[in-house]
């Protein structure tokens, strides 16, 4: 069982696994894997805590109701799966500032937190603007040969590469 406790697997083995997983979700659940509607629904659930049922008056929350669905469970599963994998290999951590970030911008937690938060806001906003993310468009959409997904994937990598090269 050494492969379960290994720190890293070949990217090709991982990719093959994800491809097979996609086949199963299409077949058994009639679903393509994706992540961002779960965040949109959760933001609606949080708003509901403050504003009550009026939240569903927003047209976007009529389209993506603030409730738990398949994709929401999928994202929760990702946290659990990664926790299991990291625990098995002893790579579980409690880390605020990643190595590469610290080497370039110093060990300040506040600096990393601000950048992560700002990046998260833009990414959350952009993901709903584009109708999907690196999973929903980047993997599930491109494998279905959707035009939208190939355009989004090219644009998001272009934006990401340019931004990373500019800040580093």
């Amino acid at each position: 069982m050494e492969w379960l406790t290994a720190g890293r697997w070949s990217p090709y083995a991982v990719g093959l696994g994800i491809g097979i997983l996609c086949c199963f979700t299409f077949m058994l659940s009639d679903k393509a894997i994706g992540c961002t509607t779960a965040y949109a629904r959760t933001s609606g659930m949080i708003e509901r805590l403050f504003r009550g049922a009026r939240v569903v008056e927003r047209p976007y929350f009529q389209k993506f109701r603030p409730e738990v669905d398949w994709e929401w469970m999928f994202v929760v599963g990702i946290v659990i799966g990664s926790f299991l994998s990291a625990s098995l290999s002893g790579h579980q951590r409690a880390e605020w500032v990643p190595e590469t970030w610290a080497a370039a911008f110093g060990p300040s937690v506040a600096g990393r937190w601000l950048a992560a938060c700002a990046g998260g806001v833009l990414m959350g906003f952009g993901s709903r603007w584009a109708g999907g993310c690196t999973s929903g468009h980047g993997i599930s959409g491109t494998l279905q040969l959707a035009l939208s997904s190939w355009l989004v994937t090219a644009s998001l990598f272009a934006g990401g590469v340019i931004t990373a090269l500019l800040i580093y």
Binding site: F24, L143, L145, S148
Partner: protein, 185 residues
């Protein structure tokens, strides 16, 4: 064939969770839950993420189209438009470069104990999706429908059988991966 299963709500919730566990496990084992690996990809020094994605897409593309040909799966291509797909992708990309995780890998990063992912990334993404929900009625009437092409797929675009695209695209991906390995990346 699986339509009864597709309608079984509770079972589907469990299946969603299980699929997520497998996905998260694979992402972590592949290193894709690490900021350093993802930012390495965006800085074009570490091609792990591209290798994972390309091999997943090639495998899934052949598999899902095979299932579709056998009548065991239905495709769900997402609709898009130039205004939505390109502008949205670029906005996402800028956030991607700053955060260094995507909405899926950030959940995996939380699972392995990365606090910048939890308190920065997840919180930020929740705020971003909420801001979009608030602005949606206005955006929906303007930029999001600019250059709309609906649920068009590449085979439909060039008016051909899906396999006439699946086979060459998966071969191209294999060649691209081979070139990456040859180049020592």
């Amino acid at each position: 064939m699986f339509s009864v299963l597709h309608r079984a709500k509770r079972t589907q919730m469990v299946l969603g969770l299980m699929a997520g566990v497998v996905f998260g496990f694979l992402l972590q084992k592949g290193g894709a839950t690490s900021y350093d690996v993802i930012i390495g990809q965006l800085l074009l020094t570490d091609f792990t993420v591209v290798k994972i994605m390309m091999s997943a897409v090639a495998t899934g593309m052949v598999g899902v189209h095979l299932l579709r040909t056998l009548g065991l799966a239905t495709l769900h291509p997402k609709p898009g438009s130039l205004g939505s797909s390109i502008v949205g992708g670029l906005l996402f990309g800028v956030g991607f470069g700053l955060l260094g995780y995507c909405p899926g890998t950030v959940a995996g990063a939380v699972g392995e104990g990365r606090l910048d992912a939890l308190f920065g990334g997840v919180v930020g993404i929740l705020m971003g999706t909420w801001i979009f929900a608030v602005l949606y009625p206005r955006l929906q009437r303007s930029i999001l429908v600019r250059g709309d092409f609906g649920e068009l797929t590449l085979p439909e675009l060039v008016r051909t059988n899906a396999w006439a695209v699946v086979v060459p695209v998966s071969c191209l991906i294999a060649v691209a991966l081979l070139i990456l390995e040859r180049a020592g990346l």
